[in-house]
């Protein structure tokens, strides 16, 4: 089962992302919780892509979700400036308030709610692939 859609490199497109994912809730029998996790993972990655893309021009971001049994594979492809989110330094969630900084939290959440990921740069494209195993309730 495969779904692909395209959005622009604009934060307002996060609403489009949500709408697209909502259609999968019924089609792929995803739980509310899984949908929320998926939304969060894609939101954080796309937000980073847009913020670090640094292009003062419009370019598309292509998202593909593939469901094979209990495994979900997500691919995000964009033509922005080279940006590898897997290299971002993660925050320490055990630090007290005074020491907590704002950076890296998005990537941290992506890591928490996905199993593994891989970044490549090819033909001037950023290609990020993520895997997420669906919980037992989807059987």
């Amino acid at each position: 089962m495969k779904v692909s859609f395209r959005i622009n490199n604009d934060l307002s497109e996060l609403d489009t992302l949500f709408e697209q994912l909502q259609t999968l809730e019924h089609r792929w029998s995803l739980s509310r919780r899984t949908l929320a996790e998926l939304n969060l993972v894609l939101d954080e990655l796309i937000t980073n892509t847009i913020k670090h893309g640094k292009c003062h021009q419009e370019y598309p971001i292509d998202i593909t979700l593939t469901k094979t049994g209990m495994k979900l594979t997500i691919e995000i492809v964009d033509s922005g400036l080279p940006f590898d989110p897997t290299l971002c330094k993660l925050p320490d969630p055990s630090l007290p308030l005074e020491q907590r900084k704002c950076g890296g939290l998005g990537i941290f959440l992506v890591r928490q709610f996905s199993d593994c990921w891989n970044y490549t740069r090819s033909n001037n494209l950023n290609i990020l692939t993520l895997q997420k195993t669906l919980p037992k309730e989807h059987r």
């Binding site: 949500f18 919780r33 929320a36 939304n39 954080e44 308030l97 939290l105 941290f108």
Partner: protein
Amino acid sequence: MEATITKENNATIFSLNGRLDSNSAPQLEKQLQDFLTTPCSHLVFDFNNLDYISSAGLRVVLNTAKAYKSGQYLFLTCAMQEHVQEVFEISGFDTFITIHRSIDESLSALLNKD
């Protein structure tokens, strides 16, 4: 996402509605501006009607907590939906942010403080 701001007893309540992501967080930041520069009452974030939060939203909450940390007024949160609370807990935010179950619980806690 525009918060509804109300006052009750000794507290200002921000009722957050809908979704708080990198697109809508700046709007909330704008509403909070004066409250963060010059806190003049206790502050409560009511999450009852918030369906979704991303790191951009967490950042706003973090900055609010920092602004209220050393002053005389308290910053509390309440009524988080399950997956919103999960995001807070996974990020370790529940260690320095008070999360009450309801707005009544928050307001009672504040009345006992003054």
